[in-house]
Symmetry: C2
Subunit: 493 residues, 2 copies
């Protein structure tokens, strides 16, 4: 019996329903789960994940995909089959034994990492990290690769991306970005006590909602809650939720995390709901997802024109703290560039040095049989070399990020790709919307929304990130745009 | 290959994980779902429900249950197989066509009921109700019954219960309870303006948490949220959540709904977590579940001794409203007996007349081919006859409850059974804990908790409700206890 595209859509939607149920369980897990509920919830999520795997890698699914590959379909339909078949073949490569082994090692590593961070002692995590590196090296072999074992992992997060491409990009970070940083540090230095004044929680919450509303986030199709680490999660285009955290002594933390997650959420809300569960209704890649959050957070949300509109709003919420602060001072303060040890607290420039360091270490992990115990020294010396800081303790050093303990290697580069794509998109938007800045100054972001809807949202994962970028901007990822953005921005401060 | 009990447990836990995922999705649906998320969520829940049905009624499941039925197992194990096999055989009776037909009719009826209630017009709901009655009559035929088609439905909610038993019970409601009500109405009449004073939301919320805490509800294994209709939901014994609603002009609403849901939640938190997913780890019946909420709400939560402890607490929260109210006045006011039209707002006595009316109408539906259009007049005349009120509009009459529109016929009687079981349990507890009231007056409910743990919680669904009742109190359900409770209580007011 010949499979129809409708059969395929039906099966994909069933899988999406289960996947989105997992997402609801995870959302609740991060926000509302009572203390004792953890083990139960982990088990429920694991059962559903098993069902997704069963449904996605079943023999009928394979026959259906093979069958549909030969059929005459529309462009979008054949792309959907293409991407799904690719993921199917990838997932089929793993034996149940390997999946269980990895899941066990990851689970142990995550707990070891928590413990190590609490004790501020990398040695507690190192043995688990060794096992983990063994597993992901093995995984690269199972997945297969043409040029570099690290490619197998990079491709999971950023389909089509490779060490070869990333080497070119990060080489430019080293040769072009690093040299200008000392100068920028000097000109952006400013004393800004208002940054650390007290901003009451409930008012910050309200300002955050106003920011999301202003960006065009649709609260009928989502909501905001509080969590330890801000995140965006989608259960389908009609229910895309964000979270934030509020530190009363640091309004900046809430503000830009709100805008950042808002950017992610607008992408998810903007995807084509009719393509629910299909690649064409899903995000293109992590890099493209990050381009959406970064474009809003930095290119829009740290621009002077954005604050021309929002500083008066912010002043209404916090008159005491901000009465005497003018736009120039505010703008300079929120764009201060100075070295630091923590990636998530880094400014727009240093951020990419943090990622560069992780990229170089991850590459090393796949190129050699380097031991975990040696990574700490490498980490610390790279921080000294690239950023000029002395890492004095592990929790501010090699233990700061959760990613490795989750078994994620190849994820970090997508953070930098996001910023670089964002700069390129920003210039493309400026080309078609010459009054972009004037509109920002009026709180009008329709130029951005329209361009993103037309060039990014509606395609979902029909194209790879670089194909999408070329279609939208006329060329594949080009680091020149990020350098141009940085030079223009900091040239004017 | 011989199935083992371990295989059975594994399969039941898998099913429980999916069922509990549905519960999480439903919880979120009632509390946090954004406006536009409804259709998506309904679809996700329906997909998971389909998976549960597939897993539960699969051929391997049937073979396993048949196989295990012949094996030598412990008492509890063989009871688990017994109950599961019974549910399996019941669920297998339905064809996919019938399940879809019922689900469609229910879905349409629910929307018609919402619409009808909004328009205050039963005629909008009647055509759907006719279809619905047709479907549930057909369902009774599919399920099969010995004596009365209504039995097939009653047995779903209260295994082992029947029209024959309920007729005896409700006959006593008519012959023994109804005659004493006029007298009780007279002696409980009191003017109590503090009942409708303004009680601020946040303080009511805090008082509610204090009540739950005092009852022994474990907040490490649960949480409270706000919803339109209060409910209790379990995702496993380590995560049992309650909701409440707060009306600033009616602190009683929040107070007793909080205690009521707390009673349900203590049952779920008290079940044996090691028996997760099995009958022995699940509630015995809806009647027994309701006995838990009613015991706390009425026998405990409307006793004078309970308020001897809590009135001073309540006064600390709301000194202005309650300064001049003494315990006697308070106790009398919260136990006022007066006729009304709405079941959920009824006092402890009239409540059972509301249920009696529904029971008589439901019985009629299965005994005859009565039409929906005739039910309204029957409803209104029964309200006049039993309660003495004139129903002037449909939303305060036949449209008040959601149950029928959900396809639930046979659910209502369990509400009354709950109160009657509660009275019987209350006397059994008094027998072993002669200082019960003194303990209540000190805020100590350990007599209750200990007895319920020992006699109810730990058995789960090992026994039917009446077997459990006999094991716990020495006899099956006996209406005398409720009458004794009522006579004692109102004799003293």
């Amino acid at each position: 019996m010949q499979s129809t595209y409708t059969d395929y859509v039906q099966q994909m939607r069933k899988i999406a329903d289960i996947t989105n149920a997992i997402a609801v369980l995870s959302w609740d897990n991060e926000i509302y789960l009572p203390d004792a509920g953890g083990p139960l919830r982990a088990q429920q999520i694991s059962t559903l994940a098993g069902l997704v795997h069963e449904e996605f890698t079943s023999a009928p699914m394979g026959r259906m995909l093979k069958n549909l590959t030969g059929q005459k379909l529309s462009f979008k339909q054949s792309k959907n089959i293409h991407w799904t078949y690719r993921d199917f073949r990838r997932d089929k490569k793993f034996t149940a034994d390997f999946v269980m082994k990895k899941s066990l090692v990851v689970s142990q590593s995550y707990h070891a990492w928590i413990e190590a961070k609490k004790k501020n002692d990398f040695a507690v995590f190192a043995p688990s990290l060794d096992k983990l590196m063994g597993v992901v090296r093995e995984e690269a072999g199972i997945l297969g690769f043409k040029h570099h074992p690290y490619d197998a992992h990079i491709d999971i997060y950023e389909p089509g991306m490779s060490v070869k491409r990333l080497d070119v990009i990060f080489e430019q970070v080293k040769s072009r970005l690093i040299p200008i940083i000392p100068g920028v540090r000097k000109i952006t230095k400013i004393k800004a006590p208002f940054l650390t004044a007290k901003y009451p929680k409930d008012l910050q919450w309200k300002f955050g909602l106003a920011l999301l509303e202003g960006m065009g986030y649709n609260f009928k199709k989502g909501r905001q809650d509080i969590s330890a680490h801000p995140f965006t999660i989608s259960f389908g285009t009609d229910d895309v939720r964000v979270t934030t955290r509020i530190d009363e002594k640091d309004f900046a933390n809430m503000t830009w995390s709100c805008i950042h997650e808002g950017g992610h959420a607008l992408y998810e809300q903007g995807l084509d709901g009719k393509e629910y569960g299909l690649p064409s209704g899903s995000a293109a890649s992590l890099g493209i997802h990050e381009s959406q959050s970064r474009l809003w957070e930095n290119n829009v949300g740290r621009s002077k024109e954005f604050w021309q509109f929002y500083l008066p709003v912010l002043k209404k919420f916090f008159p005491q703290n901000l009465r005497s602060v003018n736009l120039d001072t505010f703008y300079k303060a929120i764009n201060m560039v100075k070295p630091g040890k923590i990636r998530t607290e880094a400014d727009e420039l240093h951020y990419h040095l943090h990622v560069l360091i992780r990229y170089e270490i991850e590459k090393m992990i796949f190129e050699s049989n380097i031991k975990a115990k040696d990574l700490k020294e490498i980490w610390n010396s790279k921080y000294k070399e690239y950023i000029g800081v002395d890492i004095k303790n592990d929790k501010e050093g090699i233990l700061q990020d959760v990613h490795w303990s989750h078994g994620s290697f190849g994820y970090f580069p997508t953070y930098s790709l996001g910023s670089f794509y964002a700069a390129q998109f920003h210039y493309a938007i400026q080309k078609v919307a010459p009054n972009l800045d004037d509109h920002f100054a009026k709180g009008d972001y329709s130029d951005i929304s329209n361009w993103l809807s037309k060039n990014i949202y509606r395609y979902g994962k029909t194209y790879t990130a670089e194909e999408l970028c070329k279609k939208a901007t006329g060329e594949t990822l080009n680091f020149d745009y990020f350098m141009k953005y940085v030079t223009q921005k900091y040239g004017l401060i």
